[in-house]
Symmetry: D3
Subunit: 227 residues, 6 copies
């Protein structure tokens, strides 16, 4: 499925400003705005609580136990990018540590999303370089086999095309295709606008049952109250 | 096994004061006081370190990918309750977020224990609304199929009858049947009383081998020391 | 495979000073210095972020759901030791809590590494007694069956011989055989020395591709750039 | 939650004939007839393909790594019973082998359902003694700690009360409370009766879309066909 | 990421004859021929040993616990197709049983590949209708929420575009994009041709070390033999 | 922990006849005879039901996604050996298929035990070449990085020294150190001798409670019968 041994240098990035604004809504709202699709598997967790990032995806395909291509992708990073790393097989090795983070950060990367393991998490946390990963492991890797850079990849169950927008926080990682970014932003904004007044009402003790007019459909579905 | 499409409005809650006092002992002590039974599976984790809660259970049975009944259970919450949510199948979706938390809190709920996923964990953490869950996921849910409220449920391997006491902290979630609450409280108190002096002795370098008179039974069991 | 019912009182500990210096390098560097071997499985996690410890191993073999031997091993602890606990079967029970931690600490133990569960993690965190474990669980254990103390054990996939050096931090747990400690220290020191200047260059925007001379081998492997 | 150290000798068993007839429908049909509840977790698998059994439950609660109570429950077995074994903690040890199977069979047991491991599966298969378990393991167990016999237990996520009907086959294990057995039988029979003619139509190429009148609700839900 | 509520009726299927010939090579050979990419996760297992199938993909996206769209996709099946079913969240429910299999078979489907659970496996086995799934479960599903048919889906970690070739057997499930089918066939044929003579030599005791000329590169890599 | 890049050509193998006789007892009996130690994790499963093998271990340490050393170990195989393959990290790739099996068999190997994945399982089954593995996967591997041959390895949680006896069947894989082989054989024989008469009695309806004199210790432990 994957084209190996290639590096695509020119990708069409989604608008960085849209990425920033989507990030402000958070992954849960953006995921809803996309019809509840585009989410990576929930095993992807930030290495520190409160991590959040949004940006444009540069992608890299790695081989098991081999981080060679992370050095190749570093050169393709531009300010505002998030590196999205997939692996051709399940692997928990620590592909990425503080040296690569220093390099990525110097190139302008905002975060790493990797369907594998990372290490040096104490230093990464101190650097405030956010990473979402499947595992944490001190296990290092070799540099022997080619993967690819900036091809479409499946990462943690989600398809990521280079240039897509990534929104990541404590709740998970959502992928927004560049072509849907603007529309998703509008849907998210509308949704968020409603949530403000809803929150107030709920805080005042109003029930969702009433606010969302659920009593009738629940009754139709057959719900019975028993005293 | 489950009665579906029903909401029991009148349940007999255990004494709230007993719940509070059991909570002060913590889940490990309470679990010991119950003969090492009543514990949910250890995959149930608090969404933030240091979370702790104890209260009376209102229960809800959910369908996979469907959080409709969380709105129904909200109405049945009274001050001092903990909502215990079971699902009819394994599901990691994010059933619960900051809006429902606002509603639950307004109704007097102290916590949520859910054998599924939750989202908006940053806001839930800021609200100090403690949740014990199987997963964290931005994935939202639909509202289409009935479950039930305030029926006995199996949540994370433990049977929870409405009105039971729930004790939850960093170590896990324990269920104390209402009928055993008072006796468990007494056993826990006795146990805790002993622990104080034990801790002092151990801190002074006394060995458990001596303090608990283990040397003889170990020898009888055949333990040999080799120099 | 295991000799049961025995306690070896005299073990040859690696040099404590070497242990301390290896600990300063961290598990990732030490693991690299050992040719990327000696690491426990990545499911071993510290009970609190930022935990780190290094010391000499005293080992204990436990039976499922039975923590009797933890009291036996306590007597064998000397200042600077780390207790490494293996179990003869997979078990997530909470074998260890604040009382045993008080005892271990009084005897001079620096940490516990256990291929099972622990409890009282709030208190352990307050005590700053670091533990690496497979699980957290309020579930207590019995005291009925013999295991062994200070025999070689397989813990979380790694062979640990009594007296070996353990280096544990956020990235995981590495075992350094006593006989390789000095050499590993030297290799780690060399490695670390290089990393300082590398980090500076990477921070200045130099690419790993150039710094590590990767462009030629990548080209030979067939990597193609596409505009 | 559990009463320990007790053996209830008199339990009210559901009708054995009803159990046999429910078994003929299979676990999937019975599960549907119960409103899609009562199913154990799908990790419960038969030790050989094609295993199937239905009967009345005698229950046993075991301690981790300890099969003492399996000998106690043997005495309580009557012809037509299925032994349902829960454990107070997660454990994959091999609690049950060919000797116990010989004993269970001699007492009239039809099967074992155990939320743990078993061994001697080659002999069990030759004996045609069906077992549903979480694991297969040569690991033996001790006989040291009391559990209980014929108390209600939570086994693999399902509540089992002594005397309930168990229906187990390749698709899983369903629990039918004694009080619902007759009604479930009727619902299952109705369901099955319909399936015969449905199967014929589907085999002839009729679509479920038409047979179940789904086209209109799909259209209402907004489904669009694109050429 | 996904377009919901749509059914694409016209898809461009890869050549059925190429699919059949790729199937004869088996998933391992095809996977190698594709540069070791295109494989679904190894948790996908056939419901019976020896199952094998190859054909053209029609795809369906399902919602958690909801199999409505399987009835919709049935209408889109043509002779030689394999249905590939993805779910928007992790779910082990039994989405598919003998009635749907009867319908799929009548429409000409050769197999089902589903990233979820199935049931009625005994009957499916008797029907010789092969299924690759993540789980087996008697748990049924509702029909309430729209997904999509014949959109590109990520199934078990692999991207499947409608019309792609699926090769499935005991070793797993491989996806061959329609555009690469012919070339993959040629590569696989070459590979297979070599394997025949290699097998003969190996059977005669010739070592891979010699046959593949590995001794020199191993020596260069530093391998040392110790007597 | 591991010495890399080495092949030990001379190992001291345990007696092949003892291996054969231990194999006849099966893994469960041998495991008991060793005091319930020496068992690999229960995730190790045979690729076909009824597989069984016993022999002397030649060991190999592999790197993630890299099967180069399997060709190296092939040369070290002698008649009666079982190859035991460990990996330096968790990996489910298909390291081994029918070509390597042909080679191993030609060299006299009786089986493979591998803490990773294998492929071509249909052909391996037809060849009757038994394999115990963690996974089945069509995913192939590279040949780029050195491991080691005939060093002590930790495989699936058990320490295996070259020359040890391996006993593997449906119940799992047990390792018997060469030095304990004779004694284990005697203990197993005694144990098995008793089982014959026990089986007869149990088949006749005698209870383990009586045969093993458990009634008194159960009563002492506090067991109560309730009518």
């Amino acid at each position: 499925m994957y084209e190996l041994g290639v590096v695509y240098r020119n990708i069409r990035r989604a608008d960085g400003d849209v990425a920033a604004r989507l990030g402000a809504f958070g992954s849960a709202t953006v995921h809803e705005a996309m019809g509840r699709t585009g989410l990576m598997k929930p095993y992807m967790r930030p290495i520190y609580a409160g991590a959040r990032a949004s940006g444009t995806a540069v992608t890299v395909l790695l081989q098991p136990g081999d981080n060679w291509m992370l050095h190749v992708v570093a050169e393709q990073i531009r300010a505002g990018d998030i590196v999205v790393a997939a692996v051709t097989a399940d692997c928990n090795d620590g592909y990425f540590g503080d040296l690569l983070a220093t390099s990525f950060k110097a190139r302008g990367a905002l975060a790493l999303v990797i369907d594998a393991g990372v290490r040096d998490v104490r230093v990464l946390t101190e650097m405030k370089f956010p990473v979402w990963s499947k595992a944490i492991s001190a296990k290092g890797t070799v540099k022997a086999t080619l993967g690819a850079v900036n091809i479409p990849v499946v990462c943690s169950g989600a398809l990521v095309t280079p240039g897509d927008i990534i929104v990541a926080d404590d709740d998970g990682v959502v992928v927004v295709p560049a072509s849907l970014a603007q529309k998703t932003l509008e849907t998210a904004a509308t949704r968020e606008a409603n949530e403000g007044s809803e929150r107030e009402k709920l805080a005042a003790g109003v029930l969702g049952l009433d606010m969302y007019n659920m009593r009738e459909p629940l009754q139709k579905a057959g719900l019975k109250y028993i005293d």
